[in-house]
Symmetry: C2
């Protein structure tokens, strides 16, 4: 599949990181345009007038927004690299179901922890643990033992989504003082995420820990300030 | 594609209606199990332990939850009927993008109008109009003139989602006293929805107007009561 590929993203955005990782897994060359989210470019606003957000993938001049939509597009367009979704429709449905759950429920709860303090934060932490418990139960028996990656030896859409949410668990621990991933409570999820963070392509694409800590501190301070303003 | 198909649904649920319409468009025979959402069946809870919600499609004993996930599964499994998503990856991405927007933004805003009154409701009504404006702009030029259906002569995933949200606009008007669809303000969306409601398969699958009015009144009263409790 030919055509110029440009990704409008932001280095610390989990949504943007997902698309970068998908492009790397597929071995697709692309140009990365770093967006300043406090001063969005005219190009970004023109390409994504609906959400005005990163990531936007521009393929041959045609823009696509929303990280999960982009990843499915990548998988359907560059069909010669490793598959990001399984071939079987039922397995695909399971991947889409769990990707939706992780995105809409687990990630939303984590974001709430980042943006709150006091009792509101305690409630959100409890909710994160409830969602992790659901995920732990949910993946029981769904993946072959010893290989939690959807495709066995490569990372797929669900791995990418899970890593974009839980791959930063040490950053969460340092900034928020909460431990989400506990091998005693969530053995499958913990070993899955650990294996993912050690996977060479994932490791290479991940932003440095210290830089992420600084970003999350800044993001949290800004959210708390605007909540009390 | 053989195998027994059972749909656990609820007659008034837009999510459930989506899947029924998709099955009808594809010409798939299925058994419908009406769920009492105030007293969910053991079967439903076993099939969808994560969300505990309808619809759940059970194909050959294998459960699939979440309406959009189910519709993609149907399209990928029964490949001989009319396609619910376009074949071209970029067109598919557009359908998924707009289905997500309608579901997460437009529908959420309408639900808020249903569940609130006073100033909160006024704010929500304003938001619905903002979202409708975005949809009106968004579909400009995306569909061939004179045929707003994704596939030209059949209904597709985006049609199904849009109809499940806006097909009840006359019910909204009667129960909420608000007019969302205005041909002056939203000519494309209005003519799209009108054409959809007149499409034979859609007409046949839609619950009767009076019954829907009664249901929405009940749903609204219960939501307002629980908000003040």
């Amino acid at each position: 599949m030919a055509g110029k590929v440009v990704l409008h993203g932001m280095w610390a955005s989990p949504y943007s990181n997902r698309v970068e990782l998908a492009l790397k897994v597929k071995g697709i060359e692309y140009e990365f345009v770093e967006e300043d989210l406090t001063n969005k470019s005219e190009t970004l606003l023109r390409y994504n007038p609906v959400h005005k957000k990163v990531p936007v993938l521009v393929h041959d001049g045609k823009p696509i927004a929303e990280s999960l939509v982009i990843i499915e597009y990548i998988d359907e367009t560059w069909t010669d690299g490793p598959r990001l979704l399984p071939q079987d429709p039922y397995e695909r449905a399971k991947v889409r179901f769990w990707a939706g759950f992780c995105q809409q429920q687990l990630f939303e709860a984590i974001i709430t922890v980042v943006k709150t303090d006091g009792e509101a934060q305690e409630r959100a932490v409890k909710e994160v643990h409830e969602k992790l418990k659901v995920l732990e139960e949910g993946i029981k028996g769904n993946y072959p033992e010893g290989s939690l990656f959807v495709n066995g030896d490569s990372v797929g859409l669900l791995d990418i989504v899970v890593h974009s949410i839980l791959g930063a668990h040490k950053v969460h621990e340092e900034v928020l003082g909460v431990k989400f991933l506990d091998p005693e409570k969530y053995p499958r999820v913990t070993s899955w995420v650990t294996a993912l963070t050690e996977f060479p392509l994932v490791k290479e694409a991940a932003p440095p820990h210290e830089k992420m800590v600084g970003f999350l501190q800044f993001f949290r301070a800004r959210a708390l300030k605007s909540a009390t303003a």
